[in-house]
């Protein structure tokens, strides 16, 4: 790819890096490796409307990105790289802001991070006659001591132990300050590597990289356990109402760049967050609530009746009502424990509201059950991966097909998984959709995909001896399923991008 073209076209989001090439020609040919190509227009270059461009970065690339920016800033400001690194980290790698603030008031910015105007130095230790270290409160003339530019001097042992405890126990790196109370000077990487042991140096590097990725809006760690890669993608937080940026890491883990959750296309991040929250709150108890409780007619708090008396007083809003007719208790007059006022208006209204509330619960359960069902099937099918392989071997032995020829089973298993994953989230999405023509089209798409997926699933689970005869059917169905999925995702993403969906809830 031509990284330079893409780089220059990234006008909207590439400002941060805009003058890298202008300022230093040496970096021109390195661009390709540096991941700067992430800054391009997501909408224009996407292959399908639901796909986004992204790049996977390994530790060395992450390191390189930082070094380039540090060198660049160091050159522009005429500061040593250590100082530039501290400044960049302090301002979370926002070069614009760094330059602005530097121009505005150099001294105050440098002071804020404890740097002075001339910060070039080579770290070295010193012996001071009659030295007493403020940390261990001991010392001697022959103890090696160390101080940053601030001049707060401690014995090397204490300094080292302080840094080690910060790095090892607190996981700090980029913002470790001088051990003196009130001194904000940050321990630069040169001093740090000079003082700590080798095993902590690598930990320090790791932490520095971690902070870098955390600080950059276009970078995210792959959330898979033990994974060392980061993803670079230009989708920003404000874009998330318009796009669902699913990315796949080098380690094969697919996830959402927006919220680091599993791949949840076609449902936008904000909705899945609401949905998951709702499910956590509701799903287990929803049935029980539906069966055993009523809502307070005034404040809609859910109430369980646990005694015999029909005179209910809502704990929350103190509303008094009758459990039987849901009407005002005051209307009951003296016929206290016996409700014969079923026809009163207040009771009628309350029961209507009650019915509505039950209805909304029913509606939720409709979507939830389907969501949960696909989720479970998906999990089962994931577990079945080993089983698929066994099936393939068995089929190979029985039918005399070659290993290549039985691959269609693995393909089908993969398709099934993808389709289930998508279907699962279509239900969360549909739950939040308002009723209109687009929604009806969406539900048609959903129905088609669901039907096709169930058919494929059924074929797939047939006894092995019937599978060889069904190979063509399975292949056809497999293609059909994939197509249906692409259609559903494309159509949904298209409308999302254009902001055409109407939701029954706000998207933020």
């Amino acid at each position: 790819m031509d990284s330079e073209d893409e780089f220059m076209s990234g006008a909207s989001s590439g400002d941060d890096f805009a003058n890298i090439e202008d300022s230093d020609d040496d970096f021109d040919n390195e661009d390709q490796d540096l991941g700067f190509s992430q800054d391009k227009d997501i909408v224009r270059t996407s292959k399908k409307s639901y796909e986004v461009d992204f790049e996977v970065l390994g530790p060395s690339q992450i390191q390189l990105q930082q070094d380039v920016q540090i060198k660049d800033v160091a050159d522009v400001l005429g500061q040593p790289p250590e100082a530039a690194a501290i400044l960049l980290r302090h301002l979370r790698w926002n070069r614009e802001k760094l330059f602005d603030r530097y121009m505005e008031n150099q001294a105050s910015l440098l002071d804020e991070v404890g740097l002075e105007e001339d910060a070039s130095h080579t770290p070295s230790t010193k012996k001071i006659p009659d030295f007493e270290c403020e940390i261990c409160m001991s010392g001697d003339s022959d103890v090696e001591t160390y101080a940053l530019k601030c001049g707060h001097r401690y014995c090397v042992d204490c300094y080292t132990q302080y840094l080690a405890s910060k790095i090892r126990d607190d996981g700090e790196a980029a913002r470790i300050q001088c051990p003196t109370s009130g001194c904000k000077r940050i321990v630069d990487s040169k001093s740090l590597t000079f003082l700590v042991e080798d095993n902590l140096k690598s930990r320090y590097r790791e932490l520095i990289n971690r902070t870098y990725v955390d600080d950059m809006e276009n970078l995210k760690w792959c959330p898979a356990p033990e994974c060392i890669y980061a993803i670079s993608c230009s989708v920003r937080k404000k874009d998330l109402a318009k796009i669902v940026p699913t990315v796949t890491c080098e380690c094969k883990h697919p996830f959402c760049f927006g919220c680091a959750h599993e791949d949840h296309q076609p449902c936008p991040c904000s909705l899945i967050k609401k949905w998951i929250q709702k499910c956590e709150d509701d799903s287990e108890t929803a049935h029980w609530i539906s069966a055993n409780t009523k809502e307070c007619p005034k404040c809609q708090s859910t109430i369980e009746k646990n005694g015999g008396c029909n005179h209910m007083t809502c704990r929350k809003c103190k509303h008094e009502f009758c459990w039987m007719c849901m009407g005002l208790w005051s209307e009951h007059g003296t016929s206290w424990y016996n409700c014969n006022r079923f026809e009163e208006k207040s009771g009628n209204d309350a029961r209507d509201a009650q019915a509505k509330s039950r209805q909304s619960l029913e509606r939720y359960l409709h979507y939830y059950n389907r969501y949960a069902n696909h989720d479970q099937s998906n999990r089962l099918e994931k577990d079945n991966f080993a089983k698929t392989e066994k099936k393939m071997t068995l089929l190979q032995n029985q039918s005399g097909m070659s290993w290549i020829e039985v691959q269609f089973l693995e393909t089908a298993a993969k398709t099934l998984q993808e389709c289930r994953q998508t279907l699962k989230w279509t239900y969360a999405f549909a739950f939040y959709l308002a009723r209109n023509n687009d929604t009806i089209m969406f539900e048609d798409n959903q129905k088609d995909l669901e039907l096709a997926t169930e058919n494929l699933s059924e074929m797939f689970e047939q006894p092995v001896e019937q599978l060889s005869a069904k190979k063509l059917d399975i292949l056809n169905k497999n293609t059909y399923c994939s197509q249906r999925r692409v259609t559903l995702l494309s159509d949904t993403a298209e409308l999302l991008k254009r902001g055409k969906w109407t939701f029954n809830i706000s998207l933020d």
Binding site: M137, S138, H152, C158, C178, S181
Partner: protein, 176 residues
């Protein structure tokens, strides 16, 4: 004094903890901050100190004697000490439970600096007891009461001081 302990430490190869805390303890017991007495509840355990604080004059804690436990973590002074009230006190910055925890900014792990001395911590603590910090309260209800009805808070704080910190438990006799 510092010199001498320095030498001893090199012979016995004492850790930072022991050395620093012996030194600080020596200074604090001989010259404690105002209204405080320091002792070790268990002579052989340098990690646990008792601070006996006399209620500051003209505060509702006046006349009371409060015992605090100062616990030094094993990597002291690289990790902050813990400070907790053993005596109940009706104060928005001290948790009203069996922990009696105090939330002091400088004792938070990310604000702690190894060069901070225990005497600084104790002085800061006494300052907070004298002048409660309502914006950073652990006990929201007490803070609320102080804001709304200071008289009521003072009355209750005095009552607690009389009830829990009147110096009838032996340890406080030294303090007053």
């Amino acid at each position: 004094m510092a010199k001498r302990i320095g030498k001893v430490s090199s012979i016995l190869s004492l850790t930072h903890l022991k050395l620093t805390s012996i030194q600080e303890l020596a200074e604090l017991t001989s010259k404690p901050p105002p209204l405080m007495k320091i002792n070790l509840p268990n002579e052989s355990d340098l990690h646990k100190w008792h601070i006996i604080l006399s209620g500051p004059p003209s505060s509702p804690f006046e006349g009371g004697s409060f015992t605090l436990l100062l616990t030094l973590p094993k990597d002291y002074p690289f990790k902050p000490p813990l400070l907790s009230f053993q005596t109940k006190i009706y104060h928005p910055n001290v948790s009203n439970d069996d922990k009696g925890a105090m939330c002091l900014g400088i004792l938070k792990p990310d604000e702690w600096k190894p060069a901070i001395k225990i005497v600084d911590v104790l002085e800061f603590m006494a300052q907070v007891i004298r002048e409660p910090n309502l914006d950073d309260a652990v006990e929201q209800s007490i803070a609320h009461e102080m804001r709304e009805d200071r008289k009521a808070w003072e009355k209750k704080a005095k009552e607690w001081t009389r009830k829990y910190a009147s110096g009838k438990d032996g340890t406080s006799e030294n303090a007053t």
